[in-house]
């Protein structure tokens, strides 16, 4: 009995000792913020600050403490700890906050942060936006607090660089309904009017992953009516399909088309709904839309609007509709597009006649307008993979004066064309000539863009790099061609 009692006492002593040695939790440190001793209070503040993200929730809870000392210290700590919302990113967040204190966080910094920390980065963006929303009135203009518009490039970076489904997962797995609503309203800061294509596509994908099909579709439709391109129609089709919204969308489309009087908007709508229904494999629903149109409904549409519509129709295998939309065009571009539709209809004589008319139209233009019109048509032909575009660029270069922006660009296009044909030496010459012309044009800006259409840095440097690369290739080809081989040297 005595032995058992001694053993129990020994166990209790060990337990007490272990408890005394165990590290303090954030809640313990928060409690210590209200200690009698100043040294203890300062130690608690320092400890909580060093804990970073781990102490965030405990400090947030202490913001409403009834102990004025605890509340005051918690508020001080919160200015730093509130940002630590991304798991494992405390150190990078400190750097971002420091950069924000100096001014704005650059787009590049945001992108690097999002690349490293992924979709969770949206929580940090949301925290910045929250500060703007809740406290901007309290921040003096000269404050070193995060500047209010820092969140937007961050939001763009998240939408551009993070996987949409992962962003959706972060939102979906946020337990607090209020925090989830905040994240959702953060997404609403992106609108169809201010979004770039990738941002818009990812926005729609996020909403689709969250089963917000109507929101996804509405955004995608609005974006599509402002911007040409077929990708958004594909995304919208997924939302419509998963949301079983086809009947509703079809009914709305009919009203939308029947009520549209602006020919350019009409082309945009027809193009969108055609692309949407093709992606939904609901092609039979397309014809009834066109049957609603009064005669010559698209007659006054601009070439750009018609081009958008015709591209969609030709891609959908509906050349008859394309030809009908173009039946009374007069411009060279319009005639060219109709000739393309004629080719798809296998009506070669009509295609030749339209092409010929287009050329006659161009030749009849004033010299002052020729270059611009040739270039515009050349760009269309290039986009449609028609090699006859070369003729346009050659015509531009043959017309005086030879120092316009069209000449410079025609040289670059010729360079591109010749490079594809492995004529590297001549391609390099055209690039050099283009660069030479461009450098003499006042107020000119040379822009180099990547495959996604975004700027990839200095245009001049890009052209110089290209010339160097082409010359190297040309030299290599020449040396290969001139090197006699042992087997074939004598032949």
């Amino acid at each position: 009995m005595k032995t058992a009692l001694l053993a129990s006492l020994a166990m209790l002593a060990l337990l007490a000792s272990a408890q005394a040695q165990s590290p303090k939790t954030p809640a313990d440190w928060v409690q210590q913020l209200g200690a009698d001793n100043l040294k203890d209070r300062d130690a608690a503040s320092a400890a909580l600050l060093s804990l970073g993200a781990e102490a965030r929730d405990a400090v947030r809870d202490a913001l409403d403490s009834k102990d004025p000392e605890v509340k005051s210290r918690a508020q001080d700590l919160w200015k730093n700890l509130r940002w630590f919302v991304v798991p494992g990113a405390d150190r990078d967040i400190k750097l971002l906050v420091a950069e924000a204190d100096k001014g704005n966080i650059s787009q590049e910094t945001w992108q690097a942060f999002v690349h490293k920390h992924g979709a969770e980065s949206i929580r940090f963006v949301e925290e910045i936006e929250k500060l703007d929303r809740e406290e901007s009135a309290l921040i003096p203009a000269n404050s070193s607090e995060l500047h209010q518009n820092n969140y937007y490039p961050g939001l763009q970076a998240v939408l551009d660089a993070a996987q949409p489904v992962e962003v959706a997962r972060v939102i979906s797995e946020t337990d607090s309904p209020k925090d989830r609503a905040n994240l959702m309203s953060l997404l609403d800061k992106i609108t169809p009017a201010n979004a770039q294509l990738k941002t818009a596509l990812n926005w729609v994908q996020i909403q689709t992953a969250l089963w917000n099909y109507q929101e996804a579709y509405d955004f995608g439709r609005d974006y599509s009516l402002r911007n040409p391109g077929y990708e958004m129609a594909q995304q919208c089709a997924i939302a419509v399909d998963r949301g079983a919204m086809f009947d509703k969308v079809n009914a709305t489309a009919k009203k939308d088309i029947a009520g549209e009087t602006d020919p350019d908007q009409l082309c945009a709508k027809l193009s969108f709904y055609t692309g949407l229904f093709v992606n939904l494999e609901k092609k039979p629903a397309i014809d009834p839309l066109y049957n609603l149109l009064p005669k010559d409904a698209t007659a006054k549409a601009s070439d750009a609007s018609l081009r958008r519509l015709v591209e969609t129709l030709l891609s959908a295998g509906m050349p008859q509709r394309a030809a009908a939309a173009l039946h009374n065009v007069q411009s060279a571009e319009g005639l060219y597009m109709r000739s393309a539709a004629d080719v798809q209809l296998q009506n070669e004589p009509l295609a030749d006649a339209d092409w010929s008319d287009a050329m006659t139209q161009l030749d009849d233009l004033d010299d002052s307008k020729k270059k611009e019109t040739f270039y515009s048509l050349g760009e269309l032909m290039r986009d449609w993979h028609d090699e006859r575009a070369v003729v346009m660029w050659q015509k531009i270069l043959a017309i005086d004066p030879d120092n316009t922006v069209y000449d410079a660009n025609s040289c670059f296009r010729m360079g591109e064309f010749l490079e594809a044909r492995r004529d590297y030496a001549n391609a390099a010459e055209f690039y050099s000539k283009g660069l030479d012309i461009a450098s003499k044009i006042n107020n000119g800006v040379m822009v180099a863009t990547g495959p996604d259409g975004r700027s990839v840095g200095s245009g001049q440097q890009a052209v110089l790099d290209k010339i160097r690369e082409l010359k190297t290739r040309a030299a290599r080809e020449k040396s290969l061609f001139n090197t006699p081989t042992s087997a074939g040297g004598g032949q």
Binding site: S172, A209, L210, W211, Y230, Q234, A237, E281, Q344, D386
Partner: protein, 312 residues
């Protein structure tokens, strides 16, 4: 008799022409060493169409298949499985993909591909009750086939029986006629010479099937997911990559329950009608054979017209 009470139903494939828009081979994506030249000889490769017309926009897009459906109820909806799922006919070591416009596609090995290309007529042998595999294996299988010149029909027998289980009308041709008999996962290719003297088993193979739900991705963020096909539990990963079944008679309604990304309970039912499924697959086999160069236009044409002679 061990199999008394069973009877086999035979029905012919109707050669419903499904437009085939794409034929790809693994060789196109696999390393060169794994890509023998035959891979490029998929029979349904669409002819290249030289065209100066522009090739922009939607045509290059991945097609989203049409929505199925009754209007959704609040948290539950019933969808036609045949509209929502693509059925893949697959071999164990697939090398050639042949995608049809909708419904059924093939991902098969060279041998199966060749057998399908050589076939002039295809027929499926169904058993009742379903789920019984009757082997055509000549050494120990239960089924055999024999051509009856008098009746102008291909008879299928239980091995020891003298009375045919079923009969496939097949008029003699001026060239060898090849008949592909399908029984659950088995494919048995028989050759009947012009004189109708015999029906020789020339190839025996197996395929399995994969049901790919095109909207499986929508459940990515759902919680408490439970997916079943009939009584079988389907892990989410299998649902995402495609539900594997040995034979079409294993297809049953698929039910997905859980909570949506917003936390609301839901139930999605994908219903399958076995007859519709088999009709669709029959049509796909027929379409495959026809696209491979088989001149038959309907189920009896092989017997009425001389089929093209293929060299093995």
């Amino acid at each position: 008799m061990q199999f008394s009470g069973l009877f086999a139903l035979l029905h012919l494939v109707l050669f419903i022409q499904l437009p085939v828009h794409k034929a790809t081979t693994h060789a196109q994506t696999a390393p060169a060493a794994q890509a023998p030249q035959q891979a490029a000889q998929a029979p349904m490769q669409p002819a290249a169409q030289p065209s100066p017309t522009p090739a922009p926009a939607v045509a290059a897009a991945t097609p989203a298949v049409a929505a199925a459906t009754p209007p959704p109820k609040d948290n539950g909806k019933t969808l036609s499985g045949i509209d929502e799922a693509m059925i893949w006919v697959t071999s164990k070591t697939p090398r050639i993909k042949v995608e049809t416009a909708r419904g059924v596609s093939f991902n098969i090995d060279f041998a199966t591909h060749s057998a399908l290309c050589l076939s002039h007529i295809s027929a499926e042998l169904n058993t009742e009750p379903r789920g019984l595999t009757l082997s055509f294996n000549p050494t120990d299988g239960l089924l055999r086939a024999s051509y009856d010149k008098e009746a102008k029909a291909l008879d299928i027998f239980l091995r020891s029986s003298k009375e045919p289980l079923c009969t496939l009308p097949l008029k003699p041709s001026t060239v060898t006629t090849r008949v592909l008999l399908r029984q659950r996962q088995q494919l048995a290719l028989f050759a009947v010479p012009p004189d109708g003297s015999q029906a020789t088993l020339v190839w025996l193979g197996t395929v399995s099937y994969v049901l790919n739900f095109r909207n499986a991705g929508q459940y990515e963020l759902c919680k408490d997911l439970k997916i079943t096909m009939g009584k079988r539990d389907i892990p989410l990963e299998e649902f995402r990559s495609g539900i594997k079944i040995d034979a079409l008679d294993e297809i049953a309604d698929v039910v997905v329950t859980g909570r949506s990304p917003a936390g609301e309970a839901f139930k999605h039912s994908y219903t399958f009608d076995y007859k519709d499924v088999t009709k669709l697959v029959d049509g796909a086999y027929g379409s495959f054979m026809k696209a491979a160069g088989n001149p038959t236009t309907d189920d009896e044409a092989a017997a009425k017209q001389p089929p093209v002679q293929f060299t093995q």
